[in-house]
């Protein structure tokens, strides 16, 4: 009586095929089926942004998508950011600027803001804060995150 489907999804460039219960969220699929536990669940009602991943390039809440809805699609998670042990410029700036404390919201923020800078490579502080407002961080007061994002953008523009 379980409603099951077999889905094929490419995650961080690796193709996976899995049978899932249709009610399984994308977040649970990543965490439980693929053991990609870097995607965190902070609220499961689409408010905190901790579970943000990219589906077909777009930053989305993985608690508000079903795994079956990603059939045939590509998904990117925090595990796919650093390549060969080399942090991305944004990850490095988060490290430099103390843009994380407990680290729980960090993967969702990295996924959101990486996408944001691709769309807006030269943002103002206010634009960064607006873009960040779909992610809740209880530790940092956001300031160091904002600084890290601005520094990443400046670095990409060759200003640092």
């Amino acid at each position: 009586m379980k409603d099951l489907r077999t889905i094929s999804v490419t995650v961080n460039g690796t193709p996976y095929s899995r049978e899932v219960e249709t009610r399984r969220t994308l977040a649970d699929f990543l965490r439980l089926d693929l053991k990609l536990t870097g995607t965190h669940l902070g609220c499961e009602h689409g408010a905190c942004g901790a579970c943000t991943v990219r589906v077909e390039g777009e930053a989305v809440r993985s608690c508000l998508m079903l795994a079956v809805q990603t059939n045939g699609k590509s998904v990117a998670t925090v595990e796919g950011l650093a390549k060969d042990g080399k942090l991305t410029p944004m990850q490095n700036q988060f490290w430099e600027k103390h843009g994380l404390q407990c680290g729980f919201c960090t993967p969702g923020i990295l996924m959101t803001m990486t996408e944001f800078l691709e769309e807006n490579p030269d943002p103002t502080e206010s634009e960064v804060r607006d873009a960040l407002s779909g992610n809740i961080c209880r530790c940092t007061g956001y300031q160091a995150i904002v600084d890290a994002v601005l520094a990443t953008a400046a670095q990409a523009r060759g200003e640092q």
Binding site: E21, R23, R24, R31, L32, K35, L36, T37, G38, T39, H40, L41, G42, C43, E44, H45, A47, C48, A50, T77, V78, E79, L81, A82, L87, Q91, F94, W95, E96, H98, L100, Q101, C102, G103, F104, C105, T106, P107, L110, S126, V128, R129, D130, L132, S133, N135, I136, C137, R138, C139, T140, G141, Y142, Q143, A144, I145, V146
Partner: protein, 780 residues
């Protein structure tokens, strides 16, 4: 000793894992054959349990067990949760059973635990457990609970009062009868919850063969959780191990032992499988401890020069349904009111009221923001009534640096007198005022007002007891591979202990922090511990890290000196080797010395020397170290909508010597953001039957990136004489004075409209109401 790391803004050791998704939080742990739990919780704030029918749930596919009170192990049926901090004035303590026996006293109280093959099925089954409840009278408000004829929050209770406790110093009657001015305020304050991003969670693994119980739990201190397990389960000390992996924020409420932990352990014992329970956000809103309401009726007596003669009043505190922490929270409030001011006479009585809401325990600031709010609002009132500058009123009343140590005359919650050890309060305020150009503010305000804009400035000054004892331990050990490891019971939730403690230890060996590993959160690593809360880890664990590191370094020198045939003082430790000072290139590596320290043919340790490069220090401070801070906010209020925009926020802060400025700045800025939430956004709303309504992040509003100001921080560093490092706590100082600084600024902005404010948080709607009330008063 070379100072290489201490005091430096070194990048955190924790970060590469967190940045790449390799953090290991409790929900990331998967044990073989693990089952998953969900709880049946009370939908009513107060009710009698008439019956529970779990037969349908038990019959469901994938359901392994449904456990109610009646199926718990015998000890859990006999014993209620332990009282963490018993005190004499707590005359009516209330503690729950692991699962409710015959009465539920708040919405969210656990009634049964369902164990299933996965969380989806567990939630399906929770809906099938039929609980027949008979509603009882509800105490939904702490003041209502004091009224004659009020319902009782617990069946059979004589009273809803948990505790009444006076804090008195000086001749209060004389102070008030001789005062030129007495001003009275009734102040309401509400603080919400911690709302860490990682909800609580626990995995219990009871091994039926060895009878070992291993519990992974997202906590702020494993040893105290272990103590509570010992109170509730009859289990050998050697067979009980508590581990806390990475923790996604704590802010106080993760320091408690909760009923769910014992229930999960009981479930593992009953099913023979590891059982994981991860709190979801809906549970988090109803079952994780919070702070809540405080009503203060206070008055201040001053002379003609605005010098304080006395402060007195009562604090009525909403404790919630149970008292696991006794009266810690309101007690801290009462002891914090005097702040940085000379108050010759003080008389404050706390009344802690048991209501039918989730229990309260400290949240970042722990009752201090409310206390500071009270004192600073009173001073604003004095300034207004006497026509003085608010900053000047404070200047006239500051404790001067030369008065240190300063005995406030009241007793802190650790049972010790409040004696400020150090700090320069006048300077702290001046630095903040200068940074925000306070002197010129009146001009700015006037100019803005002429354009119809309402800007205001507000000050908050706080003194904060940090580094609460009794101790925290650190073991420093050099393995026979040369690795330096520090083990501690302090359990971080984002505060960078793995970096800052490494900085302290590394300096003793002349190595970088990369050469020092810090292990936290495991009762098998160090015998005793308290945990990370109350801004206590830098003082307690930091000092222990220093003392243990120093002792091991001394031993390293002694053994090296013996081997190299020089005096220990001739040995210096750099880059992982013990080297003879001077031009000769004679040295022993730490690895070699670690092997020698365990005994080697042909080598004997000096008489009296114990084997191994290891030392454990338990630093026990004689009293708290008192940090202080000034928060100054400049706001603009849209008087049409009531929206508050914080234009600037300057924080002048003294937490003694700073181990890692970048980390301290992070703590301060994060703390300020929490204060912004408490000042303007966060409110846990209940209906008149104590039903929590704000149970999602749409209705309970945490500050978002666009809502918080950029914080400008100015550090003072007044070393504490109470610990070898001169440090003080930094985790809460950003929050404590900020709430009132913002509210004072709003009040200042709206002063031209005749608005009087004596509450927090302030919503836009409330601001419009206050403006309307002021208009009505001026018309009348």
């Amino acid at each position: 000793m070379q100072m290489r790391s201490f005091g430096q803004s070194i990048k955190r050791k924790e970060d590469p894992a967190f940045l790449t998704g390799k953090g290991r939080y409790v929900d990331d742990i998967e044990l073989p054959n693990m089952a998953h739990a969900a709880f049946v919780r009370s939908p009513l704030a107060h009710a009698k349990i008439k019956s529970i029918d779990a037969s349908a749930a038990r019959a469901m596919d994938g359901v392994i067990a449904v456990i109610t009170y009646h199926e718990l192990p015998e000890t859990l049926r006999q014993r209620r949760l332990p009282l963490v901090v018993p005190v004499e004035s707590l005359t009516n303590p209330r503690l729950p059973y692991t699962l409710a026996r015959d009465e539920v006293c708040y919405v969210g109280e656990a009634i049964a635990i369902v164990v299933a093959e996965n969380r989806y099925i567990a939630e399906d089954a929770v809906a099938q457990v039929m609980v027949d409840l008979e509603p009882l009278g509800v105490v939904a408000d702490c003041r209502a609970g004091l009224l004659e004829g009020a319902p009782r929050s617990h069946l059979g209770a004589d009273s809803n009062i948990a505790a009444t406790m006076p804090s008195v110093t000086g001749d209060i009657d004389a102070a008030f009868s001789n005062a030129r001015h007495v001003f009275k305020e009734s102040i309401f304050q509400h603080r919400g919850g911690a709302f860490f991003m990682e909800c609580r969670g626990a995995i219990a693994h009871y091994d039926q063969f060895s009878e070992n119980l291993l519990v992974y739990v997202s906590s702020q201190g494993v040893h105290r959780i272990k103590r509570s397990f010992h109170e509730l389960f009859d289990i050998q000390d050697s067979k009980l191990r508590i581990v806390t992996p990475d923790v996604g924020g704590g802010f106080g409420p993760k320091g408690s032992y909760y009923v769910e932990y014992g229930a999960v352990a009981a479930a593992s014992m009953a099913t023979g499988r590891p059982v994981k329970w991860i709190e979801d956000r809906r549970e988090n809103f109803v079952a994780t401890h919070q702070e809540r309401d405080q009503y203060w009726d206070v008055e201040i007596a001053v002379d003609e020069n605005a010098k304080i003669l006395g402060v007195r009043g009562t604090l009525t505190h909403d404790n919630g349904a149970y008292t696991p922490w006794g009266i810690v929270l309101p007690w801290i409030s009462v002891a914090t009111v005097p702040g940085p001011y000379v108050i010759p006479a003080y008389d404050m009585t706390l009344i802690s009221v048991i209501t039918n809401k989730v229990p309260t325990t400290p949240v970042r600031g722990a009752g201090r923001p409310q206390a500071v709010f009270v004192m600073e609002r009173l001073l604003e009132r004095v300034a207004k009534e006497l026509g003085l500058d608010p900053a000047e009123v404070r200047r006239r009343n500051f404790i001067k640096p030369e008065q240190m140590p300063y005995d406030v005359g009241v007793i802190f919650r650790d049972g010790r007198p409040v004696v400020y050890d150090s700090g320069d309060y006048p300077k702290c305020q001046e630095v903040a005022l200068e940074a925000i150009n306070y002197e010129a503010f009146a001009e700015r305000q006037k100019a803005a007002l002429s354009e119809g804009r309402y800007i205001g400035i507000g000050i908050g000054n706080a003194v904060e007891a940090t580094g609460l004892g009794p101790y925290e331990g650190v073991t420093v050990r050099i393995g026979t591979n040369g690795n330096i490891t520090a083990y501690t019971g302090a359990t971080p939730q984002g505060q960078a202990h793995k970096t800052t403690l490494a900085q302290i230890v590394a300096d003793h060996f002349g190595v970088s922090i990369d050469a020092v590993t810090v292990e936290t959160g495991d009762t098998s690593n160090i015998s005793f511990g308290i945990g990370t809360f109350a801004s206590r880890t830098a003082v307690n664990a930091g000092s222990s890290a220093h003392l243990a590191g120093q002792a091991v370094a001394t031993k390293v020198r002694e053994i090296a000196a013996q081997l190299l045939e020089v005096e220990p003082d001739d040995i210096e430790l750099t880059d992982g080797v013990a080297r003879v000072k001077g031009p000769s290139n004679r040295f022993k590596t730490l690895r070699e010395l670690a092997v020698y320290s365990l005994g080697k043919p042909g080598f004997s340790l000096a008489p009296g020397m114990t084997p191994g490069l290891e030392n454990t220090a338990y630093f026990t401070p004689t009293q708290s170290s008192y940090a202080n801070g000034t928060s100054v906010a400049e706001v603009e209020v849209d008087v049409e909508t009531g929206r508050v925009h914080i234009n600037r926020l300057v924080m002048s802060h003294d937490c003694g010597r700073v181990i890692n400025p970048m980390v301290v700045d992070g703590q301060v800025v994060g703390g300020v953001a929490h204060g912004v939430g408490n000042a303007l956004f966060e409110r846990m709303v209940h209906d008149d039957q104590a039903q929590p309504l704000s149970t999602n992040f749409g209705e309970y509003m945490l500050p978002l990136a666009a809502d918080v100001p950029r914080v400008e921080i100015h550090h003072q560093e007044t070393a504490s004489p109470n610990n070898p490092l001169g440090v003080k706590g930094a985790g809460e100082g950003g929050t404590i004075p900020t709430i009132v600084a913002i509210v004072n600024a709003v009040a200042n902005a709206l002063a031209p409209l005749g608005v009087h404010i004596a509450e927090a948080p302030l919503s836009p709607q409330r601001i419009i109401q206050l403006i309307d009330e002021a208009k009505a008063r001026s018309v009348a």
